[in-house]
Symmetry: C2
Subunit: 361 residues, 2 copies
């Protein structure tokens, strides 16, 4: 009888060491078996359930450590029917503005215990559609999205809606789609820029605008117009160059203005890059900035303060946009009702630098 008992113990030992070597990840059951208690108790102990004795908790935790137990969030999420992940879809990540937003989102989400799953649409509607599907299939708790340049409607948001996954749109949005919305106040940003130019004594202000079917750029144009009209400066269609956002376009645009001898003494560009292009042309032609010509951009790209002259522009606070978006997302998730579909507008700030500051104040 004794030898049988020994054999038995021996087998248990084999089993144990086998367990340690072969099992990559031990489970709650492994812990339970070792401790000769049930999985439920282990689960509760690990989750610090109030009605579990302190001693049990301790031995469970010890064994968990010994067996190198790692909770399987996948299984836990499946069982609980909810995950801990927020999906984010952006056009492209390696642009400072978006990177900054992601930065903000990640901070807030992480703080609240959520992971973020990132998808780039690369400005491609098809990839955007796929991304939404993937995120829905992965049962993310929410989807935050800034649409691609080619997206014109929200049809492809449907899977999220049908699955009752809350959506928050930021920066580039589909207005007609009912969701949380985080925007930068482009109208006021533009308005303030132009107002500043006028205060600096500029009167003939050119505007390098973006494509007008994009609300953001349309808002900037409207801010420009309003500032002019409020100051009794006639608005002149020939001062608007639409679709002039790149550096190359900035160079082209400025040359156009100068060569056509369009009466002008300042530029408000809807992008820092085109403002930079314009500055290059002005410097080449030895037109003094800000003396004879003032230049303001938009977005406050990293280079704006580093070029010469440093560029007056508008900071949009990308990280804040990200944080606000994540905040709204969290609300929607926890309140568990899409009824918190608010809209938050982040107020941008005019950063006055050398390129417009001729009346040093």
């Amino acid at each position: 009888v004794q030898s049988i008992a020994h054999l038995f113990l021996y087998l248990i030992e084999i089993n144990h060491s086998f367990l340690k070597v072969s099992k990559t990840n031990s489970t709650i059951h492994d812990i339970a078996r070792e401790l000769k208690i049930t999985a439920s108790t282990v689960s509760r102990a690990l989750n610090d359930h109030p009605r579990i004795s302190v001693t049990t908790k301790e031995i469970v935790r010890d064994m968990a450590r010994k067996l190198n137990y790692k909770p399987n969030s996948i299984a836990s999420n499946l069982r609980k029917g909810k995950g801990n992940t927020i999906g984010v879809i952006i056009p492209i990540i390696n642009r400072y503005f978006f990177a900054n937003i992601i930065h903000g989102i990640e901070s807030v989400a992480n703080e609240a215990g959520y992971n973020i799953l990132i998808c780039q649409s690369n400005e491609d509607l098809m990839k955007e559609i796929e991304s939404i599907k993937t995120l829905v299939n992965n049962r993310v708790n929410g989807i935050m999205i800034s649409i691609s340049a080619k997206t014109r409607n929200a049809k492809h948001f449907e899977p999220a809606v049908l699955s009752k996954i809350p959506v928050v749109q930021f920066d580039r949005i589909i207005e007609t789609f009912d969701s949380g919305k985080i925007l930068s106040d482009d109208f006021n940003g533009a308005y303030n820029t132009v107002k500043h130019l006028i205060e600096q004594g500029y009167r003939n202000i050119v505007h390098f605008a973006g494509p007008q079917f994009v609300k953001m750029y349309n808002d900037r144009l409207n801010g420009y117009k309003t500032a002019l009209l409020e100051n009794n400066i006639p608005y002149n269609q020939s001062m608007i160059l639409e679709g002039f956002l790149s550096r190359e376009k900035g160079i082209e645009g400025m040359k156009l203005i100068l060569d056509k001898k369009i009466k002008s003494d300042a530029l408000f560009a809807a992008s820092d890059l085109s403002a930079l292009g314009a500055i290059q042309v002005l410097k080449e032609r030895e037109i003094s900035i800000p003396g004879r010509f003032g230049v303001a951009g938009y977005v406050n790209e990293l280079f704006a303060e580093l070029i010469d002259p440093s560029l007056t522009t508008t900071e949009q606070f990308g990280a804040e946009i990200g944080k606000a978006s994540a905040g709204m997302m969290l609300e929607q998730i926890t309140q568990n009702s899409a009824k918190t579909n608010g809209q938050i507008t982040i107020i941008p700030k005019l950063i006055i630098r050398d390129s417009t500051n001729r009346i040093k104040s």
Copy 2:
């Protein structure tokens, strides 16, 4: 009897509409029930299993559409014991270099059907440790990491190792930890920069170095030294300023050099920012660039080509680093053995611009 049959049908109908309204996400079982077939068949049909009749596949897919079925990847992953997610840990995302890497990683991973889960360490070791745990708990298929500035060893990688989750380190790595490694060739990048300076006739070359316990910066210093020695230029300790990476430090450093009247005609800065700071000082003091003083940076930040004079610097191809990292990760995942722990070095490229190009070639 008839009325009972009607009642029965009625109940079925209630059940159906109930299903449509209340069930947010229908399951494979719902489809199976409607079609009076089994869940396995549905599963197989949906996964385009070869041994399922075409007609069955069709009716299954139709019903899936009708019921707004969305496959639950969580459940699928749990069952299959593997996921479709790669975790990425970086110090901070809103820096162009890292954003670019993420961009590269996402493209490759997405192409291969993987999602990426992003964590920022914010240069904080504690957060890095937490991130690794989270990723392990979420059973990611792999972890890609660029360590924080405060990380000195790989102890906290252990959870990943124990769980047999492949690790790929990129850019900032722990050398002693056995894993896939993707690096930029800092030695050669620096070497080529200094060689170029020498070819341009500069002889007394200052170096703004980074903290030397970081391999990357040490490599750059060594590249600098080697280039000097190979050209019979004595290496002089007083020409090295360690920890001069920011713009402010660049300004400070350049002033130091000039005020101390240290004989010098060029600068190789380990960062574009400190190079920029130096340029500002030189311009202030009307020391011509590149005539009397050549300046080269490192990293090719966005602003490098935009400042005046445009900055000679080294492009590291962040997106390529990301792609290579993701590629290696995928290999490790699919080969399912950590034996592919190779090391890939991405060769950086010297971008010659105005700040050093005095012998216009």
